[in-house]
């Protein structure tokens, strides 16, 4: 494929010879060709998500009273954590709610789009060796990075125009629509810049996108904490200004209509990209910034079977996720006391409407349990994707040529991942519990939090088994599992607001266990989900056993 770029005479024309970005145009066209499905899928997908939110909300809101009902949750501190600073929510309109509450998720999607696209066309290409062919032709040192940054800028512009156009087409103010679209696109640019840096640090594409993704998560958490403080009118609301996602939200479309926060985004994106260029000039092709060290000459005694191998391969990722979830848990947990303070400041009857202080706290802790379960769901999907790359990159073949059966191979990876699920939930719950205990000076919620987190295990197991089944049927369809996870997220957070019928909501595996401590843990749901997961995993194993190896 890469040879497409080498035969173009335009590359060799005199005058372009010594440029560091020589060949950028050709590479860009090549990337557009490679991403002919991916690019429309991302941009249209984000616009369609926004369109779905808009349609659902317009259907739901029939009277001003409905709008007021919305503020009850979204204007609360917990709502701010998962929505935004709530600009103009005291005089709510549909478009303000769309931008202020749902805009966050579209923006996160745009950030993912930006960072994944950059890693895909830089570090992943280098890792696979294809970039070597490209760079050996008349292509400047910085051409690949430049081309992909231009590509992301184009994607961001398309997203901005589509979303702006969509909002304008529904009759909302044009200026606000364009600003909202641009604020979403800006997040893509910022995280493309971030990925331009992380792609230089490690030799692995997964480490590059993982690090950039972790920063996206940190940006989400930071602005959440800041927005919470802003809604309560006390505390560290400046935290939102440390977050690239926060900058986009601070534009306050349909309220203040400020364009200038996007200048910060743009400046950050440019600075990060410049840092990426500088770092890439300081390292060798194919290498990270950290030089490799010699390892053990012999395998440890425990590394003696498929299960041990699976554990060895997932170990680094498990450690990384444990640290990340512990940190996130501590951060969210430590906000328990400010949250409670916020309630005491609020008008008494409003707190009563929301079920009293205790229920609000339990609601927050319960929602966090679900959130962590969804995050662990991401871990699970990525773990199954490891299977896919083991197979497509030829390492599965070497293992299956030894005395390891297909069942044992897929089974060992599934067992390691399945054991990782309650472990990660436990770590997240412990982080939350400790954070909450330190912040309130009372460890009483620790037990409930641990149970509330770990209780989601069977739901994540079912997701794991479903992913395994998709992979077993055809590795290509594995990405469909994201739909299940995304549906779980929408149902978990927005089912009441979007009026998703109960029967449809029950399709989400995450909607059954109950959000302890607010709700009781349903033992029946735990047993049924576990049983379903076991059966699905067994089917996946049987399907995989019958198939050939070396699929892509």
């Amino acid at each position: 494929m890469a040879t497409v770029t080498v035969n173009r005479p335009v590359l060799a024309t005199p005058g372009q010879g010594g440029g560091r970005v020589t060949g950028t145009g050709t590479l860009l066209r090549f990337m557009l060709r490679r991403d002919r499905i991916r690019l429309p899928a991302w941009t249209l997908g984000l616009a369609l998500l926004m369109g779905y939110f808009a349609t659902a909300l317009e259907t739901f809101v029939e009277s001003p009273a409905d709008l007021e009902g919305l503020t009850a949750f979204s204007g609360s501190p917990a709502g701010a954590l998962f929505g935004g600073p709530g600009f103009g929510f005291d005089d709510l309109t549909i478009e303000r709610f769309l931008a202020g509450q749902y805009g966050l998720y579209v923006a996160l999607g745009a950030g993912l789009m930006g960072l994944l696209t950059v890693v895909r066309h830089t570090r992943a290409e280098e890792r696979s060796g294809r970039a070597e062919l490209v760079r050996a032709s008349v292509v400047g040192r910085h051409a690949q990075l430049t081309a992909v940054l231009v590509l992301v800028a184009m994607m961001a512009a398309v997203v901005a125009i589509l979303i702006g156009g969509l909002m304008a087409s529904r009759g909302y103010d044009l200026g606000g629509a364009l600003l909202f679209g641009a604020s979403v696109g800006a997040v893509a640019l910022v995280f493309a810049g971030v990925a331009a840096v992380t792609a230089q640090l490690s030799e692995y594409p997964r480490a590059a996108s993982g690090a950039a993704g972790a920063l996206l998560g940190a940006a989400f958490v930071l602005r959440g904490l800041g927005d919470m403080a802003a809604v309560q009118g006390s505390g560290a609301s400046w935290l939102s200004w440390l977050s690239p996602v926060g900058w986009s939200q601070q534009t306050a479309p349909y309220v203040h209509d400020r364009w200038w926060p996007l200048a910060i985004s743009l400046a950050f994106a440019v600075t990060a990209a410049a840092a990426g260029y500088a770092l890439s000039a300081r390292r060798d092709f194919g290498a990270g910034l950290v030089p490799p060290r010699p390892g053990p000459a012999r395998a440890a005694a425990w590394l003696d079977g498929p299960l041990a191998l699976a554990f060895r391969l997932h170990r680094a990722s498990l450690i990384g996720w444990s640290v990340g979830l512990l940190a996130a848990g501590l951060a969210y947990g430590s906000f328990t006391q400010p949250l409670l303070d916020g309630f005491t400041d609020a008008p008494e009857d409003m707190v009563a409407i929301m079920g009293g202080t205790e229920n609000l706290l339990d609601g927050y802790l319960g929602t966090m349990g679900l959130t962590m379960a969804l995050v662990v769901g991401v871990y699970v999907v990525l773990a199954v994707q490891t299977l896919r790359s083991e197979e497509s990159e030829g390492r599965a073949e070497s293992v299956l040529a030894t005395a390891v059966s297909r069942s044992a191979w897929i089974g060992s990876h599934l067992v390691v991942t399945a054991v990782g699920v309650p472990w990660l939930l436990l770590v997240a719950g412990a982080g939350m519990g400790v954070g909450a205990a330190v912040s309130t000076g009372d460890a009483g919620s620790l037990g409930g939090l641990l149970l509330g987190h770990v209780a989601h295990t069977p739901a994540v197991w079912l997701l794991l088994a479903a992913a395994a089944l998709l992979y077993a049927v055809a590795p290509r369809v594995l990405p469909l599992i994201w739909v299940v996870l995304g549906y779980g997220l929408i149902v978990g957070y927005f089912a009441p607001i979007l009026e998703i019928p109960a029967s449809a909501a029950r399709l989400s595996p995450f909607a059954h266990v109950g959000e302890h401590p607010l709700e009781e843990v349903s033992v029946v749901a735990v047993l049924v989900l576990t049983g379903l997961a076991a059966v699905t995993a067994q089917v996946a194993r049987l399907v995989f056993r019958r198939d050939v190896v070396g699929r892509t």
């Binding site: 010699p294 390891v404 059966s405």
Partner: protein, 302 residues
């Protein structure tokens, strides 16, 4: 003599492409069998079917007396495989990978493993991602050769090795044969097969076009004769089986079909031979006979 590999008339399609087309292959126990053919002829597909990684559409496959698809795990304890493109885990060292493969197969001889590391000059402490293609190949070779197995399936095992290592490899294969192991050695490197193989099968476009010992195959081909003679040699050209005769001032060159060699040599003696070189056909010539220009190209690459 028992049969280690017995393939009868297998077909394999990938979509509309026919990769194997009625392929037959027999490998006797304790022999080194060269599996020769150009790229894309179906060598790797055949080996993957023998490993039970792919399933033949039609035909019968027996490996060490078992069915490679159904009894994969049992059979894999008795064989070791080296793929043409060795992929290692980027964050495991070569030493870890060698031990792992050996343990997954059911045990290894640590002394032999260390000895092989030394002979192949491999630093086992490096991470998989830092190895060159040749070094990755060494990892897989050491893991295979250190195991106590009955059968070695080697798919172009020396593609990335330098000549020195190639010599070590040949030594190891001879030792394996002396130890009674069976080796299936696929290659398009003709010289390697020629040196090592007891039997050779030539595959082309998914079917075996020639099989037998090197002697058997040579019988089918021409011998090159280069002689300095006193008398004019033009008369030789009229003999049956003589091709491409050149006679420049008593320096005669020609090729002769195997079955006519005896007659031609007798007539050559009558001409007063002062110098004589007779060369057996090389495998390049064997392949040339089957593939024409196409194989000449591959021969040149090898």
């Amino acid at each position: 003599m028992t049969t280690a590999i017995d393939i009868q008339h297998i077909d394999k399609h990938f979509g509309r492409i026919k990769a194997l087309d009625g392929l037959d292959l027999r490998v006797e126990t304790g022999t080194v069998h060269g599996f020769l053919g150009p790229n894309g002829a179906g060598k790797s597909t055949t080996i993957r079917i023998l490993l039970g990684l792919l399933r033949a559409d039609r035909g019968r496959v027996r490996l060490l007396g078992g069915d490679p698809w159904a009894d994969a795990v049992r059979l894999h304890r008795r064989l070791a495989y080296v793929p043409g493109d060795v992929e290692l885990w980027p964050n495991l060292t070569g030493g870890e990978a060698i031990d792992l493969f050996a343990r997954l197969r059911g045990g290894t001889d640590p002394v032999r493993r260390d000895e092989l590391c030394q002979r192949f000059d491999l630093d086992p402490r490096k991470k998989g991602r830092t190895y060159s293609k040749g070094n990755r190949q060494k990892v897989a070779l050491i893991a295979a050769l250190a195991s106590d197995v009955d059968l070695l399936l080697l798919d172009e095992p020396t593609a990335g090795l330098d000549p020195l290592m190639e010599a070590v490899f040949q030594e190891c294969i001879r030792e394996a044969r002396a130890a009674g192991r069976t080796v299936l050695l696929s290659s398009h490197v003709l010289a390697q097969v020629e040196v090592l193989a007891d039997q050779i099968s030539i595959i082309r476009q998914g079917r075996i076009v020639e099989t037998g010992s090197l002697t058997d195959l040579r019988h089918l081909t021409r011998t090159s004769v280069d002689a300095i003679v006193d008398s004019p040699a033009a008369a030789l050209a009229t003999l049956a089986g003589v091709h491409g005769l050149q006679d420049i001032d008593g320096h005669v060159r020609f090729e002769v079909d195997g079955e006519h060699l005896a007659v031609v040599v007798r007539r050559l003696g009558d001409l007063g031979v002062r110098g004589l070189t007779v060369r057996p056909p090389t495998l390049e010539q064997l392949l040339l006979r089957h593939y024409g220009d196409e194989s000449a190209r591959h021969g040149a690459v090898a």
